[in-house]
Protein backbone atom coordinates (compact mmCIF):
# COMPACT_ATOMS: atom_id res chain seq x y z
CA UNK A 1 0.00 0.00 0.00
CA UNK A 2 1.49 3.29 -1.07
CA UNK A 3 0.24 6.39 0.68
CA UNK A 4 -0.16 9.56 -1.42
CA UNK A 5 2.99 10.97 0.23
CA UNK A 6 5.00 7.87 -0.61
CA UNK A 7 3.79 8.04 -4.20
CA UNK A 8 4.86 11.65 -4.49
CA UNK A 9 8.30 10.94 -3.07
CA UNK A 10 8.82 8.07 -5.49
CA UNK A 11 7.13 10.08 -8.26
CA UNK A 12 4.84 7.14 -9.11
CA UNK A 13 5.37 4.03 -11.18
CA UNK A 14 7.11 5.82 -14.05
CA UNK A 15 9.22 8.00 -11.71
CA UNK A 16 8.23 10.98 -13.78
CA UNK A 17 5.65 12.38 -11.39
CA UNK A 18 3.12 14.72 -12.97
CA UNK A 19 5.66 16.12 -15.43
CA UNK A 20 4.06 14.69 -18.57
CA UNK A 21 0.57 15.59 -17.37
CA UNK A 22 1.70 19.16 -16.70
CA UNK A 23 3.59 19.47 -19.99
CA UNK A 24 0.53 18.26 -21.92
CA UNK A 25 -1.65 20.92 -20.24
CA UNK A 26 0.94 23.66 -20.73
CA UNK A 27 1.31 22.95 -24.46
CA UNK A 28 -2.49 22.60 -24.76
CA UNK A 29 -2.89 26.11 -23.38
CA UNK A 30 -0.20 27.52 -25.67
CA UNK A 31 -1.76 25.76 -28.65
CA UNK A 32 -5.10 27.59 -28.28
CA UNK A 33 -4.01 30.99 -29.65
CA UNK A 34 -1.29 29.45 -31.84
CA UNK A 35 -3.65 27.08 -33.67
CA UNK A 36 -6.10 29.93 -34.34
CA UNK A 37 -3.16 31.89 -35.75
CA UNK A 38 -2.16 28.87 -37.86
CA UNK A 39 -5.63 28.38 -39.37
CA UNK A 40 -5.90 32.08 -40.23
CA UNK A 41 -2.38 32.01 -41.72
CA UNK A 42 -3.11 29.03 -43.97
CA UNK A 43 -6.62 30.01 -45.04
CA UNK A 44 -5.70 33.61 -45.82
CA UNK A 45 -2.88 32.35 -48.07
CA UNK A 46 -4.80 29.80 -50.12
CA UNK A 47 -3.92 30.61 -53.71
CA UNK A 48 -1.36 33.24 -52.70
CA UNK A 49 1.71 33.64 -54.92
CA UNK A 50 5.21 32.79 -53.74
CA UNK A 51 6.32 36.36 -53.05
CA UNK A 52 3.32 37.05 -50.82
CA UNK A 53 3.83 33.94 -48.69
CA UNK A 54 7.56 34.55 -48.40
CA UNK A 55 6.97 38.17 -47.37
CA UNK A 56 4.43 36.99 -44.80
CA UNK A 57 7.01 34.73 -43.13
CA UNK A 58 9.57 37.51 -43.41
CA UNK A 59 7.76 39.29 -40.59
CA UNK A 60 9.52 38.37 -37.31
CA UNK A 61 6.22 38.13 -35.41
CA UNK A 62 4.91 35.56 -37.88
CA UNK A 63 8.11 33.51 -37.74
CA UNK A 64 8.22 33.53 -33.93
CA UNK A 65 4.56 32.53 -33.60
CA UNK A 66 4.98 29.79 -36.19
CA UNK A 67 8.10 28.47 -34.43
CA UNK A 68 6.28 28.52 -31.09
CA UNK A 69 3.40 26.60 -32.68
CA UNK A 70 5.66 23.96 -34.20
CA UNK A 71 7.56 23.36 -30.94
CA UNK A 72 4.45 23.32 -28.74
CA UNK A 73 2.54 21.10 -31.16
CA UNK A 74 5.42 18.61 -31.54
CA UNK A 75 5.65 18.13 -27.77
CA UNK A 76 1.87 17.85 -27.38
CA UNK A 77 1.67 15.46 -30.35
CA UNK A 78 4.34 13.15 -28.95
CA UNK A 79 2.57 12.92 -25.58
CA UNK A 80 -0.80 12.23 -27.25
CA UNK A 81 0.51 9.61 -29.66
CA UNK A 82 2.36 7.89 -26.81
CA UNK A 83 -0.84 7.80 -24.76
CA UNK A 84 -2.81 6.25 -27.62
CA UNK A 85 -0.12 3.63 -28.32
CA UNK A 86 0.17 2.68 -24.65
CA UNK A 87 -3.59 2.18 -24.49
CA UNK A 88 -4.10 0.17 -27.67
CA UNK A 89 -0.86 -1.57 -28.65
CA UNK A 90 -0.47 -4.50 -26.28
CA UNK A 91 2.40 -6.58 -27.67
CA UNK A 92 5.61 -5.54 -25.92
CA UNK A 93 7.70 -5.48 -29.13
CA UNK A 94 5.08 -3.76 -31.24
CA UNK A 95 4.57 -1.18 -28.52
CA UNK A 96 8.26 -0.26 -28.40
CA UNK A 97 8.45 0.00 -32.20
CA UNK A 98 5.29 2.15 -32.31
CA UNK A 99 6.60 4.44 -29.55
CA UNK A 100 9.92 4.91 -31.35
CA UNK A 101 8.13 5.66 -34.63
CA UNK A 102 5.78 8.14 -32.91
CA UNK A 103 8.76 9.95 -31.39
CA UNK A 104 10.59 10.07 -34.72
CA UNK A 105 7.41 11.29 -36.42
CA UNK A 106 6.87 14.17 -33.98
CA UNK A 107 10.54 15.07 -33.88
CA UNK A 108 10.94 14.80 -37.66
CA UNK A 109 7.92 17.02 -38.37
CA UNK A 110 9.08 19.49 -35.72
CA UNK A 111 12.65 19.72 -36.98
CA UNK A 112 11.73 19.93 -40.67
CA UNK A 113 9.18 22.66 -39.96
CA UNK A 114 11.58 24.57 -37.70
CA UNK A 115 14.36 24.54 -40.24
CA UNK A 116 11.94 25.62 -42.97
CA UNK A 117 10.64 28.56 -40.93
CA UNK A 118 14.18 29.68 -40.08
CA UNK A 119 15.24 29.42 -43.70
CA UNK A 120 12.23 31.38 -44.98
CA UNK A 121 12.41 34.11 -42.35
CA UNK A 122 16.18 34.54 -42.45
CA UNK A 123 15.84 34.60 -46.23
CA UNK A 124 18.58 32.83 -48.11
Amino acid sequence: MATPLKRVRGLGAAHGGTETFWRQRLTALANIPLVIFLILSIVSHIGADYGTVKAYFGQPVVAVLMLALVISVSIHMRIGLKEIIEDYVHGEGAKVVALVLATFFALGLGLASTLAILKISLGT
Partner: protein, 135 residues
Amino acid sequence: MGKAKLGAERPLSPHLQIYRPMLTMMMSIAHRISGAANAAGFVLLAWWLVAIAAGPEAYAQVANFFASIPGRLLLFLFSWSLIHHMLGGLRHLIWDTGTGLDKTSIEVFAWLTIISSTVLTILLWVAGYALMGSQ
Protein backbone atom coordinates in the same frame (compact mmCIF):
# COMPACT_ATOMS: atom_id res chain seq x y z
CA MET B 1 9.86 -11.11 -13.97
CA GLY B 2 6.34 -12.12 -12.97
CA LYS B 3 4.82 -11.99 -16.43
CA ALA B 4 1.08 -12.70 -16.44
CA LYS B 5 0.09 -15.64 -18.59
CA LEU B 6 -1.70 -13.79 -21.37
CA GLY B 7 -3.23 -16.86 -23.01
CA ALA B 8 -5.38 -17.74 -20.00
CA GLU B 9 -9.13 -17.59 -20.57
CA ARG B 10 -10.33 -15.06 -18.04
CA PRO B 11 -13.70 -13.34 -17.98
CA LEU B 12 -13.39 -9.82 -19.37
CA SER B 13 -15.05 -6.80 -17.88
CA PRO B 14 -17.81 -5.26 -20.00
CA HIS B 15 -16.27 -3.30 -22.84
CA LEU B 16 -17.33 -0.76 -25.48
CA GLN B 17 -19.65 -3.03 -27.47
CA ILE B 18 -21.76 -3.78 -24.38
CA TYR B 19 -22.81 -0.21 -23.78
CA ARG B 20 -25.41 1.79 -25.65
CA PRO B 21 -23.48 4.54 -27.43
CA MET B 22 -23.76 7.76 -25.47
CA LEU B 23 -22.91 11.27 -26.57
CA THR B 24 -20.25 11.77 -23.91
CA MET B 25 -18.65 8.44 -24.88
CA MET B 26 -18.65 9.45 -28.54
CA MET B 27 -17.05 12.79 -27.67
CA SER B 28 -14.31 11.04 -25.74
CA ILE B 29 -13.61 8.86 -28.77
CA ALA B 30 -13.81 11.89 -31.07
CA HIS B 31 -11.20 13.65 -28.92
CA ARG B 32 -8.74 10.82 -29.51
CA ILE B 33 -9.53 10.49 -33.20
CA SER B 34 -9.20 14.25 -33.76
CA GLY B 35 -5.90 14.19 -31.87
CA ALA B 36 -4.52 11.48 -34.13
CA ALA B 37 -5.96 13.26 -37.19
CA ASN B 38 -4.24 16.47 -36.13
CA ALA B 39 -0.90 14.64 -35.99
CA ALA B 40 -1.46 13.46 -39.56
CA GLY B 41 -2.67 16.92 -40.58
CA PHE B 42 0.58 18.49 -39.45
CA VAL B 43 2.23 16.72 -42.36
CA LEU B 44 0.32 19.27 -44.50
CA LEU B 45 1.83 22.14 -42.51
CA ALA B 46 5.35 20.70 -42.73
CA TRP B 47 4.88 20.17 -46.48
CA TRP B 48 3.72 23.78 -46.89
CA LEU B 49 6.61 25.19 -44.83
CA VAL B 50 9.32 23.02 -46.42
CA ALA B 51 8.01 23.86 -49.91
CA ILE B 52 8.08 27.60 -49.20
CA ALA B 53 11.66 27.20 -47.94
CA ALA B 54 12.60 25.12 -50.99
CA GLY B 55 11.55 27.72 -53.55
CA PRO B 56 8.89 28.79 -56.08
CA GLU B 57 8.67 25.45 -57.98
CA ALA B 58 8.10 23.35 -54.87
CA TYR B 59 5.71 25.97 -53.50
CA ALA B 60 3.64 25.96 -56.71
CA GLN B 61 2.83 22.25 -56.18
CA VAL B 62 1.54 22.76 -52.63
CA ALA B 63 -0.25 25.97 -53.58
CA ASN B 64 -2.05 24.22 -56.44
CA PHE B 65 -3.12 21.40 -54.17
CA PHE B 66 -4.27 23.72 -51.36
CA ALA B 67 -6.29 25.78 -53.84
CA SER B 68 -7.98 22.71 -55.40
CA ILE B 69 -11.38 21.52 -54.15
CA PRO B 70 -9.99 18.34 -52.49
CA GLY B 71 -7.19 20.43 -51.03
CA ARG B 72 -9.55 22.98 -49.54
CA LEU B 73 -11.81 20.22 -48.25
CA LEU B 74 -8.84 18.52 -46.57
CA LEU B 75 -7.69 21.82 -45.04
CA PHE B 76 -11.22 22.49 -43.81
CA LEU B 77 -11.45 19.05 -42.18
CA PHE B 78 -7.98 19.54 -40.67
CA SER B 79 -8.94 22.90 -39.18
CA TRP B 80 -12.24 21.49 -37.90
CA SER B 81 -10.38 18.61 -36.26
CA LEU B 82 -7.95 21.09 -34.68
CA ILE B 83 -10.74 23.26 -33.29
CA HIS B 84 -12.75 20.24 -32.14
CA HIS B 85 -9.72 18.88 -30.29
CA MET B 86 -9.01 22.33 -28.86
CA LEU B 87 -12.51 22.75 -27.43
CA GLY B 88 -12.52 19.15 -26.21
CA GLY B 89 -9.21 19.91 -24.52
CA LEU B 90 -10.60 23.10 -22.98
CA ARG B 91 -13.30 20.91 -21.45
CA HIS B 92 -10.55 18.73 -19.99
CA LEU B 93 -8.78 21.79 -18.56
CA ILE B 94 -12.03 22.74 -16.81
CA TRP B 95 -12.40 19.19 -15.49
CA ASP B 96 -8.81 19.34 -14.21
CA THR B 97 -9.94 21.99 -11.74
CA GLY B 98 -12.51 19.53 -10.41
CA THR B 99 -15.52 21.47 -11.69
CA GLY B 100 -18.12 20.63 -14.33
CA LEU B 101 -18.11 16.90 -13.67
CA ASP B 102 -21.82 16.51 -12.91
CA LYS B 103 -24.16 14.79 -15.39
CA THR B 104 -25.80 17.98 -16.67
CA SER B 105 -22.48 19.76 -17.24
CA ILE B 106 -20.88 16.93 -19.21
CA GLU B 107 -23.93 16.74 -21.51
CA VAL B 108 -23.87 20.51 -22.00
CA PHE B 109 -20.10 20.44 -22.65
CA ALA B 110 -20.54 17.69 -25.23
CA TRP B 111 -23.16 19.65 -27.17
CA LEU B 112 -21.19 22.89 -26.80
CA THR B 113 -18.09 21.20 -28.25
CA ILE B 114 -19.98 19.91 -31.30
CA ILE B 115 -21.82 23.14 -32.04
CA SER B 116 -19.08 25.65 -31.25
CA SER B 117 -16.34 23.68 -33.02
CA THR B 118 -18.39 23.81 -36.22
CA VAL B 119 -19.33 27.48 -35.81
CA LEU B 120 -15.80 28.55 -34.84
CA THR B 121 -14.21 26.68 -37.76
CA ILE B 122 -16.58 28.34 -40.24
CA LEU B 123 -15.93 31.75 -38.64
CA LEU B 124 -12.16 31.24 -38.91
CA TRP B 125 -12.53 30.39 -42.61
CA VAL B 126 -14.66 33.47 -43.18
CA ALA B 127 -12.05 35.57 -41.35
CA GLY B 128 -9.22 33.90 -43.29
CA TYR B 129 -10.91 34.65 -46.62
CA ALA B 130 -11.54 38.22 -45.49
CA LEU B 131 -7.83 38.61 -44.64
CA MET B 132 -6.76 37.36 -48.08
CA GLY B 133 -4.43 39.75 -49.82
CA SER B 134 -4.21 42.08 -46.83
CA GLN B 135 -1.32 40.10 -45.23
